[in-house]
């Protein structure tokens, strides 16, 4: 871990000012990913701005939805009564991720900004375009079992590791940010980006901006939803594939569908075409298969992760089945319904 300046502002304005245009400065809140990366010398910030004392730790009612302060911990969010009742998909997704200890520390804003778990990104002994632009992607043709199958580029095949973000994508959350140019709102779908030829950039946050809240719209899909996460052990592991599925039904007919995938791309992978395909169709396995095929039409395997395409296809079908049946996946009983 390198040496750095440490500052602890008490207001958002102070925090934004402290960040200024310094590319080596980083905000720190929960620290669960940043400190991890600093110990590997993947992140070497010149300055840490401790934002834990900013007044951003509230969950508030807003326009029929909820405004989640950027510093609300993952645990506080998952166990909040309003979230559990109105947005159980989000609660379930959070509880599918990490461990209780990490969820107690990790913040909402930090969850959005966590970096990929690509082995090569983490290992400074190997070249990585995300860590050191222009050095090449070691994952391509290497140990790529956990890597992306959608939206990859020749420069990067990393995945976004978050579970929470998959649910937020499905729920059409909005990310509110504050910066030198003032405040703005970023639709969740536009918050994270694909690697393209600039994989160092995970998000569309502009330099100098800070996340202040994540806003949930009124529709929470509390009736028909699931978060189904498939991984190499039954807990405390990143997703090989995960599915956030949410439906509104008229009888057995799908009125609205939301579908997002985790573990398969550089960002939470939401496919609105597949959602549109489901609209008006009966909630049957055939419909779900058609949607899954559509989502994975463009999927591309790497050397050892081809199984993820079929796994994702099956997970989508099962996730939609669980949502339609109103039997969301339990995050403690590991039997998959």
């Amino acid at each position: 871990m390198n040496r750095f300046d440490y500052v602890r502002p008490s207001t958002v304005a102070e925090a934004v000012q402290a960040l200024g245009s310094d590319p080596a400065a980083r905000f720190i809140a929960g620290g669960t990913n940043l400190i991890d990366l600093m110990k590997y010398d993947v992140e070497r910030p010149g300055k840490l701005i401790d934002i834990t004392r900013l007044p951003l730790d509230k969950i508030e009612e807003r326009d029929g939805g909820l405004r989640i302060g950027a510093l609300v911990t993952n645990a506080a969010l998952a166990y909040d009564a309003r979230i559990r009742e109105r947005y159980p998909l989000l609660a379930d997704a959070i509880l599918a991720g990490a461990s209780a200890q990490l969820r107690n520390a990790a913040s909402t804003g930090g969850n959005l900004l966590q970096r990929t778990r690509c082995y090569y990104f983490y290992d400074t002994a190997t070249p990585c375009n995300k860590r050191e632009p222009g050095t090449g992607c070691s994952a391509i043709g290497g140990v790529d079992r956990i890597h992306a199958i959608l939206g990859t580029s020749e420069h990067c095949i990393a995945t976004h590791p978050s579970d929470m973000c998959v649910a937020l994508a499905a729920l059409e959350a909005t990310v509110r940010v504050s910066g030198p140019q003032g405040d703005r709102a970023i639709p969740f779908a536009e918050f994270h980006r694909l690697p393209g030829d600039d994989p160092a950039k995970d998000t569309n946050l502009a330099p100098g901006e800070i996340i202040v809240s994540v806003d949930l719209p009124a529709r929470g899909f509390a009736g028909h939803h699931t978060y189904l996460k498939l991984r190499d052990r039954l807990s405390y592991a990143f997703a090989l594939v995960s599915v956030a599925a949410a439906l509104e039904l008229d009888g057995r007919t799908i009125r609205t569908a939301r579908l997002a995938l985790g573990g398969v791309a550089h960002k939470p992978w939401r496919n609105t075409d597949a959602e549109a395909l489901l609209q008006g169709r009966p909630a049957t396995r055939e419909s779900f298969k058609a949607a899954a095929d559509l989502v994975l039409r463009e999927a591309k395997p790497q050397s050892t992760n081809g199984f993820k395409i079929e796994l994702a296809r099956r997970a989508i079908v099962r996730g939609l089945e669980q949502a339609a049946a109103g039997t969301p996946q339990s995050q403690s009983d590991k039997r998959i319904q």
């Binding site: 040496r3 401790d50 403690s332």
Partner: protein, 174 residues
């Protein structure tokens, strides 16, 4: 700004106050010192273990203001003002009057042989207390899931769950 200290390459330290196992301590720490390293290397509280240093094993679990977290992924300076309980303070948590007896979860771990080498144990114990404070886990399945952030390579998991269930049936932690 509350604090502005440290400089790249320098060894600036910052004054913080922590209450550790009931004892208030004024400390000067470098910003890059984790809570775990502070406890182990500066304060000789080696009960809290470093198993991975990356939040992937749970051996470093401590209670901060009653909440369980990984002390390896926490800079000490960020916890200025907090109350920290480590395994060394668990007994005190249960018996504020200062008897010598153990916390019920410590007794249950011994009784159920919920450890072998003992290296993950402090983290398991603090995590168990934190889990009981949270109050979400009730069934065996839920306990298993809630304790999955604490790896035990000796494989004492079933005994750990037995020990926790035992204490929960007695009325839980304090």
């Amino acid at each position: 700004m509350l604090i502005d200290s440290g400089s790249p390459g320098g060894v600036g330290t910052i004054g913080i106050t922590l209450t550790i196992n009931g004892e208030r301590r004024e400390l000067q720490v470098a910003p890059w010192t984790t809570l775990l390293d502070l406890l182990r290397e500066r304060l000789d509280l080696t009960g809290t273990k470093k198993g991975c240093d990356h939040g992937q094993c749970g051996a470093c679990t401590v209670l901060v203001n009653g909440t369980r977290i990984n002390s390896c992924l926490t800079l000490a300076v960020m916890k200025d003002g907090a109350e920290i309980t480590t395994v060394e303070g668990l007994a005190g948590l249960a018996h504020r009057e200062g008897t010598n007896s153990l916390h019920p979860i410590q007794e249950a771990f011994v009784e159920h042989d919920a450890f072998q080498c003992g290296y993950c144990t402090p983290g398991q114990l603090c995590s168990s207390v934190g889990m009981m404070n949270e109050g979400h886990a009730k069934t065996r399945d839920e306990i298993r899931e809630a304790m999955s952030g604490n790896i035990c390579r000796c494989g004492a998991y079933t005994n750990i769950v037995d020990a926790i269930e035992d204490v929960m049936q007695q009325g839980g932690a304090r």
